[in-house]
Amino acid sequence: MATVDLNRVRKSYGAVEAIKGIDIGVADGEFLVLLGPSGCGKSTLLRMVAGLESITGGEIAIGGRVVNGLEPKDRDIAMVFQNYALYPHMSVFDNMAYGLKIRGLPKAEIQARVAKAAEILELGRFLDRRPSQLSGGQRQRVAMGRAIVREPAAFLFDEPLSNLDAKLRTQMRVEIKRLQDRLGITSLYVTHDQVEAMTLADRILVMNHGVAEQVGTPLEVYQRPASLFVAGFIGSPPMNVLDARFDAAGQGVALPGGTAFLLPRPRPDMAGRPIKLGVRPEHLAVTSGDGPLIVTVDLVEALGADTVVYGRLPDGEGMVVRVAGLPFCREGETLRVGAPPDALHLFDAETGRRLAD
């Protein structure tokens, strides 16, 4: 059990800066998810915490102890790899016991710990098997078991579920959540899957190009995305973003076609300035006739519980609407669509950062 603190952490590969100064304090027992698109530096950051990559700048502390100069073996962490990285020549038992044997634990203690982990993960029947004789899901569990038995200060996960099929992934996600509730070990979890992030995280750190775009609880990140990047990355389908402009009094914003939205709180300081206006597809409502937006339907996707409508505004801008229930319109039809004022997100047109509200 321990805190993990990253202080202005940077990483360069030659001239390429992969991590550009990240600050985050992970509380004892917290589950932090590092979320971002492929290549944004998530694995690099995690591997720096593990000690598998050197630290170019800044400080990493585990349990209050700076670990910059320590070998992985001296950091008291356990890691679950995307490809599981099991020892192929060892039985499931030996895979889990390996780290304990190295630490010189008594045989009985090793037996007990492995037995307990095997029970939690339902691996009891497979202890004598080699990894090659297991299914993907079972290997995944062995990798988890190998981490659990160590009782480390922190768990590190690098996309542990991305090699599993959709059904197994959901199942393992629930198991990881349950495990975390039960063990309460500080965890850093890397993923590019927003559903994993939303369901597992106490807090999410959204990364983009080696920078932390936002740190917050799953709901904070969803309800108040700090930037256009976060707004576009979290939510499915992604948030609609339109070019707009504050009116002369700063009371509302208007689209190029003239459609106007009143703001919940006027911004006289921004009067006349250009802006990016964001609305989530699920917050748009189809109205009987007075909705401010006129959307021509291009495509209708029936998901069963929801219907997603892809269409365009009169000036050609794309617009996605997500409505509960079965399809209610056809391609070529026109809909009147509106949004409540508190569903509008305003972003600086130049920096893409959220405007303070």
Binding site: A50, E71, P72, K73, A78, M79, P88, Y98
Partner: protein, 294 residues
């Protein structure tokens, strides 16, 4: 998973096999058959007539105390060459694997010995170890150590072992390096997170995962030491001084080509074949059990 190639033309697969089959027939099966035939015959000195003598040739060979001496030399020689060339190749491959970016240059350098003809390699070693003109040979003598592999049995054996091992290191190195690079990085990383230092990682992860390569090389190297070191010994010491560096294969040549004892020499060839087949069978039976194939 099953891999199968479908040929449209029925003759094509046989045609593709033909060259290999021809080479095996002409250079292996035919001489082996000849050796078998000759080993049970006695030829006159001019090779004009021969007479069936059953196992007499074998009796003569096996009751010759010199022959047993040669067997001993061969065991010492082959065990040393196999161990030395495997161990140093593995060491070099581990170093290269760690610095893989430099490996291209490193690899080329290490392949050279393999490409050299045995006689050329032997000359090279002579220039190093010759007591009169060799760099190291002279240095040793100047330091007061009486070095002359032409007179000293032990020194001669040491030198042919070194030279023969050196030639085989390249071959082993290539296989070890490929084997090392096939080990997933993440498995070694997992071990280091589990608390294993570099040495323990090597012995508990790398070495076991390398075992298919090591086993294959073990078989190949023993065969090499038994059969293919003739050129090196011939050029360096001629089996001498006395019979200090005479191995079984060298003796086959000596008795057959130099002393014209075709029957005896053939009997030795057959014995040699049996030894190597037995050794290989033993390795597959007992050593291979410890090998982990992924």
């Amino acid at each position: 998973m099953q891999r199968r190639v479908i040929f449209d033309n029925r003759a094509l697969p046989y045609l593709l096999l033909a060259p290999q089959v021809a080479v095996t027939l002409i250079f292996f099966i035919w001489p082996a058959a000849q050796a078998l035939w000759q080993s049970v015959h006695l030829q006159d000195a001019f090779g004009l007539r021969s007479q069936f003598v059953g196992l007499e040739n074998f009796q003569a060979v096996l009751s010759d105390p010199n022959y047993l001496e040669t067997v001993k030399t061969t065991i010492v020689f082959s065990a040393s060459v196999t161990l030395l060339s495997l161990a140093s190749a593995l060491g070099l491959a581990v170093l290269a694997d760690a610095k893989i970016r430099a490996a291209a240059a490193y690899k080329t350098l290490l392949i050279w010995p393999y490409a050299l003809a045995p006689a050329v390699a032997a000359v090279l070693w002579m220039f190093i170890f010759n007591p009169d003109i060799g760099i190291l040979g002279r240095a040793l003598n100047n330091l007061g150590y009486a070095w002359d592999y032409r007179l000293n049995d032990g020194q001669a054996l040491t030198m042919v072992i070194l030279a023969a091992s050196w030639k085989q290191v390249s071959y082993n190195f290539i296989f070890f390096l490929a084997g090392l690079q096939a080990i997933p990085r993440s498995v070694l990383e997992a071990a280091s997170i589990d608390g294993a230092g570099a040495v323990r990682r090597f012995w508990t992860i790398t070495f076991p995962l390398l075992s298919p390569t090591t086993f294959f090389l073990l078989v190949v190297n023993i065969v090499y030491a038994f059969f293919e070191t003739f050129g090196t010994i011939h050029a360096l010491t001629h089996g001498g001084p006395g019979k200090a560096t005479e191995t079984l294969i060298f003796r086959v040549y000596q008795d057959g080509v130099v002393n014209h004892d075709l029957g005896g020499s053939s009997a030795q060839s057959v014995i040699l074949m049996v030894i190597v087949i037995a050794l290989t069978a033993i390795q597959f039976r007992f050593v291979e059990r410890k090998v982990h194939y992924s």
